[in-house]
Amino acid sequence: MIINHPILGPRDAQEFVYLGDANLMGRPDGMTAGIEAFHDYLYNRDNPAGAHRELWYHEQGDRSWLVVTRNTVTHEILKVEMARDVARAGGRSK
């Protein structure tokens, strides 16, 4: 698989480390969310067959986190974004 890095261009997926569903970026607030919400965040997954937004870390490159939208049935990569841009667009400061 080739991941089209927004800054570095096409890179082999081997340069990256895979973390999982991009929803992991939306960690609930530890003081208010409660144990059920944290349990759901940490352990449960949508695990879709089809388009999946997921976190890849460019460990052997610029050390950036990317949000890759990839089809889990065909392995086709549909979209690549910088994770920090996604986080900021979602209202976070960093």
């Binding site: 352990y43 997954r45 049935v73």
Partner: protein
């Protein structure tokens, strides 16, 4: 028809005209007491034990493709009970004991071969860890033995003992571990279930669930609605897809694992060998092919095929351990979709829907579990309480902090 040596000779003398199809091909009935979703090893074993051991009737297995076309026919056929943790080891030892009597029990040759499995050791710390694991196994009635370097050398003199990074210092041996002809396991259970009246319904994909007032009424399928009092789901890599029909999100990710077979070679590996440090394991089939594998590809996938980087990684692991295989040619590679759970251990449990039960999260190790998984799932379906070796395989263990994490990796499925 019972199979026996006599039968084989009689058929040979009469032109093999007496063999019959091994199971029926029934049309689905309107309603069953039990529907098992998924005609893989676990689903078929569940139906078999439900009928045979728990004396239940009106049972159907619904399979979206053909029986045994999933992981049960794609795995590398290793059986063992060399786990450490309390929640796991009694279950896997129960499974190994069932394997030992399986062929007589279901009157089918599954080629159960207890040829021994070794896990290689390269450091003192690893030796300590494996010694602890071996003691855990013995405490639970399994067999375990520590081999020193010379004992490993006597078994496999051609290994690269003085690899600079991972010199071989010994191994943990389980002599009762080994391999089983995987397809024959599916066929044997299917035949045994069919003989006891279970309807095995192929080309029948479950596409929805009918749930009324919190109770399961049946399943929607590609062959129409089929009613059921109880539904047990055992669909391995498709677990999240099927349980989504009941509104559930599971502690599971689907990942692809690849397997490899070389051209046929003269016998030189008589047991199973794992080289964990090099992400490689191998056995040799009775036809002579080396059957081997390594890590999962590592990203969510529902494609039954993997990518080249893992093939390269596995081949490197094989070469590091056994330089002698350098000229052997790879014949085939393929992939299967596994239900990787958040702690690397399975789930056999009820759900929030009355009458709906779940069996999954087997990761890359569910083949060895097939007999016990079927038995324990049948126990849960028939009696509404878990079998004594499967009490820890609950959904709520993640909420309660009772994870069964053999590797200590935490909630990241691709590291288990």
């Amino acid at each position: 028809m019972r199979y026996s040596g006599f039968r084989v000779i009689a058929e040979a003398l009469t032109g093999h005209k007496g063999w019959k199809p091994v199971w029926r091909d029934p049309a689905p009935q309107a309603e069953y007491d039990y529907i098992i979703v998924g005609g893989g090893g676990h689903g078929l074993a569940t139906a078999y034990y439900l009928a045979k051991e728990f004396k239940q009737a009106r049972i159907a297995v619904l399979e979206k493709g053909y029986l045994g076309g999933g992981n049960v026919g794609r795995n590398t056929t290793i059986i063992r009970s060399n786990y450490l943790l309390e929640g796991n080891e009694p279950f896997y030892e129960f499974s190994l004991k069932l394997w030992e009597g399986l062929e007589q029990d279901f009157n089918y040759n599954a080629m159960v071969s207890q040829r021994g499995i070794i896990n290689l050791i390269h450091t003192d710390a690893q030796r300590d860890a494996f010694t602890r694991r071996g003691n855990g196994m013995i405490l639970n009635g399994a067999d375990a033995e520590m081999l020193n370097r010379d004992q490993v050398r006597a078994l496999y003199p051609f290994l690269n003992f003085d690899n600079a990074r991972f010199p071989i210092k010994g191994a943990l041996m389980q002599r009762r571990g080994g391999t089983v002809r995987h397809d024959a396991v599916a066929w044997g259970y299917a035949r045994g279930a069919d003989m006891r009246g279970v309807d095995l319904i192929q080309n029948c994909e479950v596409t929805g669930m009918r749930i009324e007032n919190g109770r399961i009424r049946g399943v929607e399928t590609s062959r129409g609605f089929i009613g059921a009092k109880k539904v047990g789901v055992a669909v391995a890599g498709s677990s999240s897809k099927v349980m989504a029909h009941a509104g559930m999100r599971l502690p599971i990710e689907s990942h692809v694992l690849q397997a490899f077979v070389s051209e046929g070679l003269k016998p030189f590996i008589n047991g199973v060998m794992t080289f964990g440090a090099g992400h490689f394991y191998v056995s040799q089939s009775d036809k002579g092919g080396l059957v081997f594998g390594g890590d999962i590809d590592g990203y969510n996938s529902y494609a039954q095929r993997g990518n080249l980087p893992v093939i390269e990684d596995v081949a490197e692991g094989g070469m590091a351990l056994m330089p002698a295989i350098g000229r052997a040619r790879l014949l085939r590679t393929w992939g299967g979709i596994m239900d990787m759970s958040m702690d690397g251990s399975p789930i056999i449990d009820k759900t929030h829907v009355e009458g709906l039960y779940f069996n999954g999260g087997w990761c890359y190790g569910g083949f060895k579990a097939t007999p016990a998984s079927g038995w324990c799932f049948a126990h849960l379906l028939a009696k509404d309480e878990p079998h004594k070796t499967a009490t820890a395989y609950r959904f709520d263990r993640f909420l309660k902090g009772l994870m069964i994490d053999e590797k200590g990796q935490g909630a990241q499925p691709n590291l288990h």
